[in-house]
């Protein structure tokens, strides 16, 4: 049975379980006025039956489907003739691609080698068995759950409490998902990174000055790795984020100040939403804008004043990233500025401070922790931003401090290493995970510090 069909059957069974549990409770007390003798409303008995019918079955099904492919692949692999089983991981991956494609009918089977065809048949047979046993197991679990609960229904059964316990448990589970996601990120990225660091030393990765993972692709160099010194990427990332912050912080901060302290209500009501549009625009659009409009503009301007600007320059990417971050800074700064109590402003005004003196010496001073927190979050964003740099910063891992040249960043390299043809297990693809680990750790530290600072600040004026 296909997965969706199985799900439908399960839903039907659960509905039946609801009805049957409800009827049973009613029958036990003779229906009608007898309901008062039940501990809970009849619908709770129904719900309890339905939950026990559906949930365990769903759980089994989820686990099974998660593991099915891995298990079947392992089994097929163990059945392979010696000629095929002594291959390296990359070739094995390609082989299994072929096998799956034959099974799906994407490749005509008669074109393939006999061994491969046999493996495909094996695969198909195992899949058939798996599907059948899954159906049996899930249905058995559902029926068993239904029958067990139904048999235990009696008027004193605290059905509502039991249902609510389950609901509470599900709620708890949902909230724990956040922890699992973090764990998942850390474990998966860490695992692949550790494999990378088996091939390339941590020192070389963090301190090396040359980055050319492509060389590892060459057939005669399989096993020997390319150059994986990530310093050029780190520098490129820092440079582009730096340019972005140089644009975004003053513009964002000053526009927040102007809108919060100077602008009249009408102007503010119009301008604020318009500026916030910038925050809602997808980054791929900024990337296009950087590559197609800002890059050539800068290049022409550079030619005009006799400077060579690369067509994919750090400056273009940084500028556009800065534009993207402006609304982020300005809305955070606006929050922080409006959180400063009016009494502080009054104190300064009453001494005869001008508006700008009040803002600079009192308001910004008071809002400083919050604003610093906001800027840290913005930096974390800039570091992790991907599409703008992929489209506008280029791939050249230049070790340069010149913003007019092309540089590359951590995120650009992750994307380049992992898109297109990939052979898993080569240092080239694993390097992407090592870069991801660095990215995750750096942004994690920035975020935690920033969130803490902002929270402290908020509490101060609450």
């Amino acid at each position: 049975m296909s997965t969706s069909a199985l799900l439908l059957v399960l839903a039907a069974l659960a509905t039946f379980a609801y009805w049957s549990g409800k009827q049973r409770s009613l029958k036990l007390v003779g229906g009608g006025r007898g309901i008062r003798r039940l501990h809970s409303l009849p619908s709770y008995y129904g719900l309890l039956t339905a939950l026990w019918c559906g949930l365990p079955a769903l759980l089994i099904m989820g686990l099974w489907l998660m593991l099915q492919d891995t298990v079947i692949t392992a089994l097929v692999k163990s059945h392979l003739p010696a000629a095929l089983s002594h291959q390296n991981a990359g070739q094995m991956g390609l082989l299994f691609n072929d096998i799956k494609n034959i099974v799906l009918g994407n490749i005509p089977a008669d074109g393939a080698r006999a061994e491969v065809r046999a493996a495909a048949l094996d695969y198909q047979r195992l899949r058939g068995i798996a599907s059948l046993s899954l159906t049996g197991l899930v249905l058995a679990a559902a029926v068993a759950g239904l029958a067990l609960v139904r048999a235990r229904i009696h008027p004193e059964l605290r059905a509502r409490n039991a249902v609510e316990k389950i609901v509470e448990f599900l709620l708890l589970g949902s909230s724990m998902l956040a922890i699992f996601v973090t764990l998942g990120i850390v474990l998966s990225v860490l695992y692949e990174s550790l494999r990378f660091f088996n091939a390339v030393s941590v020192q070389e990765f963090l301190l090396g000055l040359t980055w050319s993972p492509q060389t590892a692709l060459r057939a005669d160099q399989v096993g020997s790795s390319g150059a994986f010194g990530a310093v050029p990427l780190f520098l490129g990332t820092v440079m582009i984020s730096g340019i972005a912050m140089v644009v975004a912080v003053p513009v964002g901060l000053f526009s927040a100040i102007y809108l919060a302290e100077y602008a009249n209500r009408g102007f503010r009501a119009w301008v604020k939403p318009v500026l916030e549009i910038l925050a809602g625009i997808p980054t791929v659009v900024y990337g296009f804008f950087a590559a197609l409009t800002v890059g050539p503009l800068l290049r022409q301007f550079g030619e005009h004043i006799g400077l060579h600007v690369a067509s994919e320059s750090a400056l273009a990417a940084g500028l556009v990233m800065g534009i993207m971050i402006i609304p982020f800074i300005s809305s955070l700064a606006d929050d922080m500025i409006t959180a400063v109590p009016q009494s502080l402003r009054d104190g300064a005004y009453a001494l005869g401070a001008t508006r700008s003196e009040t803002i600079r010496n009192v308001v910004l001073r008071a809002a400083l922790p919050g604003i610093v927190g906001g800027v840290l979050l913005a930096i974390s964003r800039a570091i992790g931003e991907t599409m703008i740099v992929v489209m506008a910063a280029g791939l050249a891992a230049n070790l340069t401090g010149n913003p007019l040249e092309a540089v590359t960043t951590v995120t650009v390299q992750i994307v380049t290493l992992l898109t297109g043809d990939q052979e898993f297990d080569s240092p080239k693809t694993l390097a992407a995970f090592a870069l991801g680990l660095v990215l995750f750790l750096v942004t994690l530290v920035l975020n935690v510090v920033a969130l803490q600072v902002v929270r402290k600040y908020r509490e101060q004026y609450e």
Partner: protein, 281 residues
Amino acid sequence: MSSATAPNEPAVAGLPVPVNCKTVGRVTVDNALLSARGVNVFYSGKQAIQEVSIDISRNEVLAMIGPSGCGKSTFLRCLNRMNDTIEGARVTGSIVLDGQDIYDKRQDVVQLRARVGMVFQKPNPFPKSIYENVAYGPRIHGLAADRVELDEIVHTSLQRAGLWDEVKDRLNNPGTSLSGGQQQRLCIARTIAVNPEVILMDEPCSALDPIATARIEDLIDELRASYAIAIVTHSMQQAARVSQRTAYFHLGDLIEVGETDRIFTNPRHKLTEDYITGRFG
């Protein structure tokens, strides 16, 4: 402005009082420093006080009392144009400081507020050190030529506010680290560091305990020697203790003005009497 004077008032030096002034008692004084005439305030069109005329003189404390919401703070904030900071607030009438209309177009509010300082209900020290709190005013106004002079100003101001001995060892601690009463005295020190002519106080003790209140009241009494002081208070005892003249506000009207002793012993207006005897308020 009308040139006629209120009928039951003898003409004196100073500004004439509008005819429609219904305030009981004498609103003028002989050596007025700050004179309000026919002041109305509107918040987004809603009138908060109407036709208030009163003088404030040097070396004297004027107390303003009245039920809450009657417009005392509103009037006080007119005197150094703090209402400018409220969106939708509009002031009409005239307020004259030393012969100059403070609502005149050419009047710089910065200059005005340097001359008419204000202390607020809730102590509001800046998020800076004690020293910087006091030095802030002199700094922005360029009152001190060098650091020595600035130190001197900070020292005298804190001393006059009666805070010096308590804080002289921790001038670099944040102003917010002080107790409520100390913070309020810091705010007073901050105000007098600018060397103003008038000090406005809006319920300066309402957030403080009785002991801190007593200290501030003593301080106000000392400061009277150098400044004209107007204080809003909700405590009649406080008005009686610190002020020489008292003004009673009711629903935006200035009902009665007079010597503090006279107001509390022999109020002339029914509303004043009711308030003082505690029939409402």
